[in-house]
């Protein structure tokens, strides 16, 4: 059974005093329902994703108490990939025909934190200050730059692109373009990553209406097909966040594994993809993920970025809505924001930031602690 996306909705990402996460979720759902030309009472099942909100299903109090099965998921920064995958599989299994995936979050400012023991790490690891994700990203890109000849100028160009794209996106958190000099000159947080090379936790919600592909034309004349959606966790030897130690043996990370699996399921390759969404927790992550997802070889990013190939008009347009850098990361919603953007791009509805040339295949990737990644592949 194939699966189609027939509606998408987004509550803007940013800071919204006085609006709860659940309320943002309801707004995203209403927009997605309107986009699919369906009513809440038509929805047969739902999956909800959030980090801060224990029970996203409480949104039914605002939408309607219809008694549907509504399951909640938290899976780190790949939460939205899990929500999307579970919703799609529910349709693939023939259990239901029309459902919704929703993600919502409302984080406090500042770097994410938690009790290290909840991640199978010892207490002293957190006491010493090691339980902070940003320094992992600093180490990973610093080593990658050493191994593959990537410059700090490239990191600044990637971040500047994100803010430039964000300026064209009315739903984005950061809509002010920043120059490469401003980005390089901002406060150093974790060498070589400066403040403006990092995304920030924030608030927002996104929702996606899915249905059996053979019913999609009941709802829309532009269905977008979900060709693959998958999640993987780290294997021994991957270089991962919150690792007090690593073995001598080295292996690829979960992004590489999930990307290969998704391409195999979809039956297409990276060369077929026209528009890309990558987890840019920091500018370095976008650079690394471009290679980990098979879109270039290690080190090629230096010239790809310099030539503008990752720009909206380039050969490999990446994070056309500004990505995490311009949108921030409300964890539960972030991956569905990526899907929202790909759907708009494939429908030709992305307005000022529309990728030229009638894009037909889109790709999204999430990555986060403690070593989990998700990928989806969509096509017209």
């Amino acid at each position: 059974m194939d699966v189609a996306i027939v509606g998408v909705g987004l509550h803007p990402f940013g800071r919204f005093a006085g609006v709860t996460g659940i309320e943002m979720g309801a707004i995203a759902i209403r927009k997605a329902l309107a986009d699919a030309n369906v009513e809440w009472r038509d929805i047969q099942f739902a999956f909800g994703g959030s980090y801060e909100i224990d029970n996203p299903d409480a949104v039914v109090a605002l939408m309607g108490l219809t008694g549907i099965p509504f399951n909640n998921v938290y899976n780190g920064c790949a939460t939205a990939a899990s929500v999307l995958t579970l919703a799609a599989n529910t349709i693939r299994l023939g259990e239901h025909e029309l459902g919704i995936a929703v993600g919502m979050d409302k984080h406090l400012p500042g770097a994410f934190s938690a009790d290290p023991r909840l991640y199978a790490c010892p207490s002293w690891y957190g006491e010493l200050g090691h339980f902070v994700t940003t320094k992992f990203f600093g180490m990973k890109i610093n080593k990658y730059m050493h191994d593959h000849g990537i410059s700090s100028a490239t990191l600044a160009r990637v971040a500047a692109k994100a803010y430039r794209n964000g300026a064209r996106n009315p739903n984005a958190f950061r809509r002010k373009p920043l120059s490469e000099a401003e980005i390089l000159g901002s406060r150093m947080l974790n060498h070589p990553l400066t403040q403006y090379m990092f995304c920030a936790p924030d608030e927002g919600a996104a929702a996606v209406v899915l249905c059996r592909a053979d019913r999609a034309h009941r709802y829309t004349d532009k269905p977008i097909y979900l060709r693959a959606s998958a999640v993987r966790t780290r294997r021994l030897g991957a270089f991962e966040v919150h690792s007090p130690w690593l073995p001598i043996e080295e292996t690829a990370g979960p992004t590489v594994d999930v990307s290969r699996a998704a391409f195999e399921t979809a039956g297409i390759g990276p060369e077929d993809v026209d528009v890309i969404q990558l987890q840019d927790t920091d500018a370095g992550a976008e650079v690394i993920h471009l290679a980990e997802n098979g879109f270039c070889k290690d080190g090629e990013q230096e010239s790809l970025v310099a030539r503008g190939e990752l720009e909206i008009g380039g050969r490999l347009p990446v994070n056309t809505d500004g990505g995490l850098l311009a949108n921030g990361e409300p964890i539960g919603a972030s991956g569905l924001r990526q899907v929202h953007e790909i759907v708009l791009q494939l429908r030709g509805q992305a307005g000022e930031r529309q990728v030229p040339g009638d894009p037909k295949v889109g790709y999204t990737q999430l990555y986060g602690a403690p070593g989990v990644a998700g990928v989806s592949i969509l096509s017209v």
Partner: protein, 138 residues
């Protein structure tokens, strides 16, 4: 003022010549740090204590230039915070350990590093809490 380790079982204490305390799997031989009861490669529960080499090479590094979120971080914050290096040091063919580095400048991947015990913070009873770090080796 007494000196106390940040936690028991992380490094030998007290010791003239401190070593990090890891574990080795009796079935497949993998080394972990800190010691753990089961093997992350083969799931064996036959893990035995294994003291790690004191010297190794820097495998990856960055700097921590803002105080980490507290809790869980319990070290100096505000004006008392001093930026520090963080990295992984590969200890022979045993394991790579994540560690503070005593330097923030002059760090190079592949450079020789050695284990040192350093003051981390002063606890509520006035004790000097000691932790481990690696410094560039002579």
């Amino acid at each position: 003022m007494a000196r106390v380790p940040v936690a028991q079982g992380v490094f030998t204490w007290p010791a003239e010549d401190p070593r990090l305390i890891g574990s080795r799997c009796g079935a497949c031989g993998i080394v972990t740090f800190p010691a753990q009861d089961s093997c992350p490669r083969c799931a064996s529960t036959g893990m035995a204590q294994h003291l790690l080499p004191r010297r190794g090479q820097l495998w990856a590094w960055t700097t921590q230039e803002f105080p980490p979120p507290s809790p869980p971080y319990s070290g100096p914050t505000g004006d008392a915070f001093v930026p520090y290096g963080v990295g992984y040091v590969q200890l022979g063919e045993d394991v790579k350990v994540e560690t503070r580095l005593t330097a923030t400048d002059g760090l190079r991947i592949g450079m020789e590093m050695e284990l040192v015990l350093v003051p981390f913070r002063t606890d509520g009873e006035g004790n000097e809490v000691v932790s481990f770090a690696f410094r560039p080796a002579a």
